[in-house]
Symmetry: C2
Subunit: 148 residues, 2 copies
């Protein structure tokens, strides 16, 4: 019988490995995971300011500066003036950025297939049910925490 | 039926939430997750140099400098000369660091209990089996990758 703490360690340790594999695979495909995450926000939300990008990723505004600089240097994103606020800048994905992001997404999908296709249909359903149940539970806990 | 990619997204999304909860809970307890991780390496491995700390966490040597500086500033770790190499420094956890680490570990355990105690015994065993199976699978894949 596994305790909650052992289960948590198992969960977090597996994530550590998956995360490293995803990061390595993306680096091999020419885009680090942190750059891919920023590009995905830009692709989903259109031209946005730096604070919005950081907020979407759960970071402080300044912590995406380096990544945005690197993306701009490599022609994957561009910065331009915000028409509604002349002191502000908006960041936008470029066509080359879209190509790089699509390639990174394809690499990640292939990796997910490799990782999870060893599970049987039943295992997969149980696993998905448990993950979804845990998520629902966390959501209700966070709501409670915000109320109290 | 969930595809591997959907399962992967579910897995990674849940991790994102758990990670944020652990980080918040540890910050509330006075130690960020990154500081707690460094302190745990110091507690486990004794006096070590910065490169060893970084390697244990899967980072480049320089990326732990800020955390080590902060830990030293707050009296949770100390740096001293390496008796075997006068150009090198060794980092060590302090008694106050051990207290802070123990508190952080207790906070994390309590959180893991909160997150996972909603699962039934059967769900917990299935979940643990699946996680352990995925880990074994990843290990054998990585060995294959290193051999080829």
């Amino acid at each position: 019988m596994h305790s909650c703490v052992e289960l948590g360690e198992l969960y977090l340790e597996l994530h550590h490995r998956i995360h490293r594999l995803v990061d390595e695979a993306m680096n091999d495909a020419g885009l680090s995971l942190s750059r891919a995450k920023v590009l995905r926000v830009l692709a989903q939300q259109g031209p946005v300011n730096q604070a919005t990008v950081a907020y979407a990723l759960g970071f402080a505004p300044r912590s995406v500066t380096d990544t945005l600089d690197a993306l701009e240097r490599e022609g994957l994103a561009t910065r331009g003036p915000d028409p509604r606020d002349r002191r502000a800048w908006l960041v936008e994905i470029t066509p080359a950025g879209t190509v790089a992001l699509d390639r990174a997404i394809a690499v990640k999908k292939a990796l997910m297939n490799t990782i999870f296709d060893g599970l049987s249909d039943t295992e997969r359903e149980h696993f998905a049910d448990t993950l979804a149940g845990l998520r629902t539970r966390l959501d209700s806990k966070q709501e409670t925490a915000h109320v109290s």
